[in-house]
């Protein structure tokens, strides 16, 4: 049985591309397509951060919380663990709901309103 747990993950814009690649490399299809919602302090583009929030497998959450374990898995997958550990260190990972985490960091979703 898959055990799910909630995580809100906010990554700085500077590392969003490698963060996306890393998640897909580590988690496969379930980790693809992450960090596609832009954030900024004002809610206006350009994005300063990107967010994914929702359920992930508990085992993956454990990896995110344990740099040594993450490095070991990355090495086993043929990835250089150093950039991954750096991404994790630069990111904000919490079990809080997204709105709580955003308020804590002073960030807002960037909404692109269409003209109504």
């Amino acid at each position: 049985m898959t055990i799910w747990t909630h995580r809100t993950i906010i990554v700085p814009d500077a590392v969003v591309v490698p963060a996306r690649l890393a998640c897909e490399a580590l988690a496969g299809a379930g980790g693809s397509g992450m960090y596609t919602t832009p954030l900024s302090p004002t809610g206006a583009l350009p994005a300063t951060h990107w967010i994914s929030s929702g359920l992930i497998e508990h085992a993956f959450a454990d990896l995110l919380a344990n740099p040594d374990a993450l490095a070991a898995v990355a090495s086993a997958a043929g990835l250089d663990p150093a950039p991954l550990v750096a991404i994790i260190a630069a990111s904000y990972i919490t079990d809080e709901p997204a709105d709580v985490a955003l308020a804590r960091l002073g960030l807002q979703l960037c909404h692109e309103p269409f003209n109504a």
Partner: protein, 540 residues
């Protein structure tokens, strides 16, 4: 139909024989009641008085009948039903069915939402010799062979496949079932290949596996992909289409969750001091006991037992408990009609579900489901020039737009579109939105502006049931959008639920069901669909 054939049921329901010597079928026709519903109605009569509730129940049954028949002439569309657990899976490949929320596990993610409008019957078998009874029908690449009624793969110097050409259509879902009787090394993966390869799950142990693969454009064959070291025996494999326009989400964090949670509080049988996040809206606070609750933060006041409306600002609401406070319930003020006034909540994962309608919860961040398109699927949602359509809403006075349905590339800088306020039936064909809040519905095109064009673009989006969480407002928006004949013949856009492809505009809210039908229909059908979805969401 003979009345005598119904007598046992009638006796069971009423305890009496029914004496009627005329044309039974014609008699019920005259009353406007399908004879096939007669026995069920007699049971209902026995169990229920003929009061308003009974009338509502029978009308709901009639509405359900109308919904089931919406696509009987081959119309395109979808029917998603969050109350039907058999249509939802935790993963995108349909391997993990959802479970009932509130029973001690986290509300399950929904990675695959099946379209039930066609009954979920699988199509015919697409493979020849899927049981490997003869050494034929398959292309056996290095290491593969067929013998003894099985496909056998022995280790080889390189990866290799066992393949068979079959007819596949991009965007359609295929159920792949196969049996691995043994595997001592390596892995085997079912794939749809030719064009963009669609991979299933790599298996490393024996067992019978079923998963759903969505074909990509250009896929022409099924293959079993084996790693170089793979040593396995495959007993059988089957590939059958699962007709319908199913929606999925591969990214785990972007999957909506299935929930039935309405009460925002926890430990509600004997409430302790706690804080909850609320939005600027009215809530209903109800509790029993001799103690009191003092509100601070998003609202203020001290209350004793009873039920009252609380007006909150957005933020954290702290409930400080003094004395005994029991059966406490805090929920959006208009959160459903007729649902139980108290929902027992032990913790975030354990709560009452009986009587509380299930819904898909979209988190307003990144949750969405995608319906993969193809040459003909949802052509009615596109115009002749291939531009896209976006349907969403904004809360009253709000600047944040929430996506219900979106397709194509609604890119940054889009400046066209239009909005229609609730219950706007200006020309009798555009929009019909039921809304007990004051939200505004928006329909926008990315490339072609103007009301007339948009009305021409959209053939019909018939109904979407939504509860908007952040505003504490329930919106059931049966969208009755129809125009002339659709002209797009080769649309290849995906349709997204809950988010626009590029601009985001994520939905923070609940979806109880989605019904889309490509085709014209009468007012009676609209009313029935509205009633059906309203009953699902308990909004009237």
């Amino acid at each position: 139909m003979s009345i005598n054939s119904l007598q046992p049921t009638l006796r069971g329901a009423t305890g009496k024989e029914l004496q009627f010597t005329g044309d039974f079928h014609a008699y019920w026709d005259q009353l406007g009641i399908p004879p096939g519903q007669f026995a069920e109605r007699m049971v209902a009569w026995k169990a229920l008085p003929q009061n308003a509730a009974w009338i509502d129940a029978t009308e709901d049954a009639d509405a359900a009948g109308v919904v089931e028949g919406l696509w009987r002439n081959g119309e395109q569309g979808v029917w998603y039903d969050a109350s039907d657990l058999s249509t939802m899976f935790q993963d995108a490949a349909g391997m993990l069915p959802v479970y009932m929320p509130g029973q001690g596990q986290v509300d399950p993610p929904v990675g695959l939402l099946l379209d039930k409008r066609l009954g979920l019957a699988r199509g015919p078998e697409l493979l020849v010799n899927g049981e490997f009874t003869t050494d034929s029908g398959w292309t056996k690449n290095a290491g593969w062979g067929i013998s003894g009624g099985a496909a056998v793969r022995v280790p080889d110097a390189t990866v290799s496949t066992l393949t068979q050409n079959i007819a596949l259509s991009g965007g359609k879902a295929y159920v792949v079932t196969y049996s691995i009787s043994s595997i001592s090394a390596g892995s085997v993966t079912p794939r749809l290949s030719g064009g963009t390869t669609v991979s299933g799950t790599a298996r490393v142990s024996a067992g019978v596996y079923t998963e759903i693969l969505f074909a990509a454009a250009g896929n022409t064959r099924l293959e079993l992909y084996a790693a170089a070291i793979t040593n396995t025996v495959i007993d059988s494999i089957s590939v059958r289409e699962l007709p319908g326009n199913h929606a999925y989400q591969a990214t785990t964090t972007s999957r909506p969750t299935l929930s039935a949670r309405y009460n925002l509080l926890m430990g509600t049988d004997a409430l302790a001091t706690q804080s909850v996040n609320v939005v600027a809206a009215s809530y209903t606070l109800c509790f029993y006991g001799a103690g009191s609750v003092t509100l601070s933060g998003a609202a203020a006041g001290t209350y004793s037992a009873g039920s009252r409306s609380i007006t909150c600002t957005a933020g954290s609401l702290t409930l400080t408990v003094s004395g005994g406070v029991n059966q406490a319930d805090l929920r959006a003020a208009n959160d459903g009609v007729g649902i139980p006034p108290y929902q027992r909540v032990v913790d975030a994962n354990t709560y009452d579900t009986v009587g509380f309608p299930l819904y898909l919860r979209f988190d307003g961040v990144d949750d969405n489901l995608t319906i993969p398109s193809s040459a003909s699927v949802f052509a009615f949602l596109h115009n002749g020039s291939g531009s896209s359509v976006h349907i969403g809403f904004s809360p009253s006075g709000g600047a944040v737009y929430h996506t219900l349905l979106s397709s194509g590339n609604l890119g940054s800088g889009t400046t066209v579109g239009f909005s229609v306020s609730q219950d706007d039936r200006t020309d009798g064909r555009l929009l019909n939105i039921l809304n007990n809040g004051s939200g505004t519905l928006h329909v926008s095109q990315a490339a072609v502006g103007g009301i007339s064009n948009a009305r021409r673009v959209v053939s019909i989006v018939n109904a979407v049931g939504v509860h908007e969480l952040r505003q504490g407002r329930t919106i059931v928006s049966p969208l009755a959008v129809e125009t002339g004949s659709p002209s797009q013949a080769a649309a290849s856009y995906d349709l997204m639920i809950g988010r626009a492809p590029q601009a985001g505009l994520p939905l923070a809210g609940r979806i109880f069901g989605v019904i889309i039908r490509g085709g014209t229909r009468g007012a009676a059908q609209i009313v029935a669909v509205e009633k059906f979805l309203s009953a699902k969401a308990r909004v009237y």
